[in-house]
């Protein structure tokens, strides 16, 4: 059943081409049904279930090696599929009034969503890389055609970075598959590659994945790409695409090359912590609201990488939870900044926004942004808190020394988030007489999209065990866990 998420979104993409007039309804239908399917699959999943094969069809004979179109699902992939669906639905809702070349817009949007479903569900490395690279081109066209600020540059930079990362991953996949004589993820995980082989393939592959995961210092595509992208584009980028890299690292690079991982994980942790702190510091100095959120995405993705690097159960579980959580929060933040504010005020400059009395003009946007900021800062009750605390506990078990630096980074996150919040919506408190500008009200689809995302972050924040119960057993079985240092 879960394979239908992929079929539905791609069928929707084809249908959009034939019936561009109903593009948004088709896109909404496809993503909504896919969300329901992945939600039901996640709920029905037994906590102790192993990777369940969904589809297995022989596909290609490659150098005497079988490539099968093999899809499978477990707690982690279903959780990620659910976020993909939710973000996809919200992205469609926030693009409801796209007028320009609507059919094409939703075609590319659905291809990003469908490709991401494919990545999260594939259990064969060739299938994985096909879907992984399939997502690259739709992003380019989404940004270059419907974007704003410096869109040609932002789109090209993002595309070339993605392709660069993809090429490194491809190299690793070729090396692993040729050496082991198989593309099957489970077979490869149990193959036991030479230690010397692992020590060079792991960093190549991990680096490739972490380009999409926006690891510092290869993160620069993310802020420019986010800023240039249309709202739905930034939502998909922050919500799904950045997670593809982290997911690949967890699903492919780490289980295949455990020795390589152990050798390099300290270096990864250093990069992750540096990313958390530096990106937060840079966000503090931004004038453009989308740049603030763009850098905050890099900072939040640092937590994912840090959690992965710890190699402890809680660290890895927290990393997955953070992927889910930031997928929702990132999408929400960009929805507010891009759709609710920029599309109406035509500026994202914090100083200009401050003089507009937006709190009174767009009360619903103000409310949404407060919630999103709170979630982003890691206020208890929201998903950000549950995820980041879990990562921190995992980090404490691995490297206690890293925790204070990371916490300092979290403080910086809170500072820049509050600064952006105050400057954008509450900048006029000293001068209560500023005229309230007449802006178009928030539309119904926008409200629905925002409410879906807010509810999602609240549910995950209050009941993280709903997800963790499905995620942690998978992680315990992955044989990745490194015993805590004494």
């Amino acid at each position: 059943m879960i394979a239908w998420t992929i079929y539905l979104t791609f069928a929707g993409a084809l249908l959009v081409l034939l019936l561009p007039r109903y593009a948004r309804e088709i896109a909404l239908g496809a993503t909504a049904i896919a969300t329901v399917i992945s939600g039901v699959a996640l709920i029905e999943l037994e906590p102790e279930a192993v990777m369940e094969t969904v589809l297995w069809v022989p596909w290609i004979q490659l150098l005497g090696v079988e490539v099968n179109f093999h899809l499978a699902a477990d707690g982690i992939s279903l959780a990620m599929a659910l976020v993909t669906g939710i973000t996809g639905v919200a992205a469609v809702l926030f693009s409801w009034d796209v007028e320009k070349r609507r059919g094409e817009f939703f075609l590319w949007l659905l291809m990003v969503v469908g490709g991401s479903f494919g990545v999260f569900l594939s259990a064969d490395l060739f299938v994985f890389i096909v879907f992984y690279e399939l997502v690259i081109i739709p992003k380019y066209f989404l940004i270059a055609t419907w974007g704003s600020t410096d869109k040609a540059h932002g789109a090209m930079k993002l595309t070339l970075y993605s392709f660069f990362g993809g090429a490194l991953v491809l190299t690793g996949i070729i090396a692993a598959a040729v050496t082991a004589g198989s593309f099957d993820l489970a077979t490869l995980s149990g193959f036991g590659f030479d230690e010397s082989f692992q020590s060079w393939v792991f960093p190549v592959m991990f680096l490739g994945f972490s380009v999409l995961g926006a690891v510092w210092p290869l993160h620069t595509w993310a802020p420019t790409g986010h800023v240039a992208a249309p709202t739905a584009g930034s939502m998909l980028l922050a919500g799904i695409v950045m997670k593809l890299g982290a997911y690949g690292a967890l699903r492919v690079a780490m289980p295949l090359f455990p020795n390589g991982f152990e050798q390099w994980r300290a270096a990864i942790a250093v990069l992750a912590v540096a990313g958390i702190v530096i990106a937060a510091g840079v966000a503090l100095r931004q004038k453009d609201l989308k740049f603030v959120i763009g850098y905050s995405s890099v900072s939040h993705m640092g937590f994912v990488l840090l959690g992965l690097a710890t190699g402890t159960v809680l660290g890895l579980g927290g990393a997955v939870l953070q992927m889910v959580s930031h997928g929702i929060i990132g999408a929400l933040l960009f929805a507010v900044a891009g759709r609710m504010i920029y599309a109406r005020t035509h500026t994202r400059d914090l100083d200009e926004l401050g003089g507009m009395n937006l709190r009174k003009a767009l009360p619903f946007a103000a409310f949404t942004f407060v919630i999103a900021s709170a979630a982003s800062m890691g206020i208890p009750g929201f998903s950000g808190f549950a995820a980041e605390v879990t990562v921190l506990i995992g980090t404490w078990q691995a490297w206690p020394a890293a925790v204070p630096v990371t916490v300092a980074g979290m403080v910086l996150v809170a500072v820049f988030t509050l600064r952006a919040l105050k400057r954008s919506f509450f900048g006029d408190d000293d001068n209560a007489t500023t005229a309230v500008p007449s802006l178009p009200p928030i539309t119904v689809p926008e409200k629905v999209g925002a409410i879906i995302l807010m509810l999602a972050t609240l549910v995950v924040g209050i009941f993280p065990s709903l997800l963790l119960d499905k995620i942690l057993p998978v992680i315990e079985r992955m044989n990745l866990v490194i015993p805590p240092t004494p």
């Binding site: 490659l62 060739f126 690279e133 081109i137 270059a144 090209m156 190299t171 070729i174 040729v178």
Partner: protein, 490 residues
């Protein structure tokens, strides 16, 4: 059976093609004003030749093994498949040339395309170096004329002359190389050469012979540093001639080069592994592959004319394909055939579109493609498919072709990883220029008063281009359709 009858039977596809060429020429003389008849006759002849290829016995050889000059004409399943591919590409070229306006003498033009195809078929199905050379020359001479067929354009003549001068020198190299190889091994047949080469140390004279042979073929496949004719030929020759040079001629040449290197010169391979160069043709080929990838991709970045850009990217693609030959073995051999075919399909489609745009606007600068999306969204989408396939993105055939090439090279010798990484870096560069073209076509809004005429093809050319795009996509989704056919004929 009478040996001549046997020969006629095995050479029936070539015979059909020759008769067709004569018929088309005669039609030009008798009915000069009806181009439809000539295109129809040429297409029918190609289809008939394809049928003849299918009807051939699976194996056959004239003269038989053991007799003097054995293997002048060899029929085996693999060469028959290549002939079918070449004939298919020729068919598309002939049909795409329909409606072109650069000449009134279509009979002669089509006859030359048919002759070039015959040359390709001859060299594909021979194991005798001399016969291969004759085929090579037949193709080459036809192509020189095809490149200069546009008598209204002085640059077409320039392209033809450059192509001819470079080609002539390259042929001289090849022939000289072959004579040295013959002198040292005492044989002109590939199995005979392989046998004579086996064992003994490499004589310097023999090395010179192999290097010279290699140079001649590098010219044919436009690998750097022997690529200098390609930009002019691609840019200024009539579009359908350029399309043939880039597609069918490439497939045939790559197949023959692979056959000569992997079977004839096999004992002199050497190694091109990282920090493990061993004398032989492999290190030489590796350097040419690397150079082609670097030069082709970097120079393509600076091009404003789409045909010139495609020419430099063709140099880079030749570099990628050579990596497959370096991989060697069944995997590498199959990878080369698959990739060359995949490339030919995509480039043929791209050139088909170039022809349409050129007919409408008189040029083929990238800027002239700006209104393609407005006048024909379907054709614009097809261009997207072709260029993204050339860039190597899934789910198009170019992605699988590259993946297979690199996997074959790495599985043959992990030391070839340096070339694979270089090729991936080259692909990254190529993505930039392909996307820059696609930005003009698919992203930018059309400035209505820029383009004089709406770009729209005749129904035939639109259908052909859509079919090629569909092939690009279908072979990407189901590569086994072609790869399985290649592998089971190995």
């Amino acid at each position: 059976m009478n040996p001549y009858l046997e020969l006629l039977k095995l050479a029936s596809p070539e015979a059909v093609m020759t008769i067709t060429a004569l018929v088309v020429l005669a039609l030009q003389a008798l009915r000069p004003k009806t181009p439809v008849a000539k295109h129809g006759a040429a297409a029918a002849g190609i289809l008939l030749a394809g049928l003849a290829v299918v009807m051939l016995p699976e194996e056959g050889m004239v003269p038989n093994a053991g007799e003097p000059g054995a293997g002048m004409l060899v029929i085996d399943p693999l060469s028959s498949l290549i002939k079918l591919i070449v004939l298919g590409l020729a068919l598309f070229t002939v049909l795409l040339a329909r409606g072109a306006t650069f000449t009134r003498y279509f009979g002669e033009y089509l006859a030359l395309i048919l002759l070039a195809t015959i040359g390709l078929m001859v060299m594909v199905s021979s194991e005798q170096l001399l016969v291969i050379f004759v085929g090579l020359e037949l193709t080459g001479l036809s192509l020189y004329i095809l490149a200069g067929f546009d008598k209204t354009d002085i640059r077409s003549a320039e392209a033809s002359l450059k192509y001819f001068l470079f080609g002539g020198v390259a042929s001289a190299f090849t022939l000289f190389g072959l004579s040295l190889v013959y002198g040292m091994t005492g044989s002109t047949s590939l199995p005979g050469i392989a046998e004579a080469l086996g064992g003994g140390p490499m004589e310097p004279l023999l090395a010179a012979g192999i290097v010279m042979t290699l140079i001649g073929f590098s010219f044919k496949v436009a690998a750097a540093p022997f690529h200098l004719w390609a930009p002019d030929a691609y840019q200024a020759a009539p579009v359908s001639s350029a399309a043939f040079i880039a597609s069918a001629s490439k497939v045939g040449s790559f197949f023959v080069l692979t056959k000569i290197l992997l079977f004839g010169f096999d004992p002199a391979t050497g190694s091109a592994g990282f920090q493990n160069f061993v004398a032989g043709w492999a290190p030489l080929l590796a350097v040419m592959a690397g150079l082609s990838i670097i030069v082709g991709n970097l120079v393509a970045l600076a091009q404003k004319n789409l045909r010139r850009l495609l020419a430099y990217s063709a140099v880079a693609h030749a570099g990628y394909t050579l990596i497959g030959i370096l991989g060697g073995g069944e995997g590498g051999h199959a990878a080369v055939i698959f990739y060359a075919t995949a490339y030919a399909i995509s480039i043929l489609g791209a050139f088909g579109l170039v022809a349409l745009v050129r007919r409408a606007s008189g040029r083929a600068d990238i800027a002239d493609f700006a209104c393609l999306r407005k006048s024909s969204p379907v054709l614009a989408a097809c261009m997207g498919v072709f260029l993204l396939s050339l860039a190597g993105l899934p789910p198009l055939v170019g992605f699988f072709g590259k993946f297979y090439l690199f996997a074959a090279a790495y599985s043959a010798d992990p030391g070839l990883l340096w070339l694979v990484l270089l090729a991936l870096a080259g692909s990254l560069v190529s993505l930039y220029y392909y996307l820059s073209v696609l930005k003009v076509i698919l992203v930018d809004e059309c400035d209505a008063d820029r383009v004089p005429d709406a770009i729209g093809g005749s129904r035939l050319s639109t259908i052909l281009i859509v079919v090629l795009a569909a092939l690009t996509l279908a072979l990407g989704l189901f590569p086994n359709a072609l790869l399985g056919a290649i592998m089971e004929r190995m």
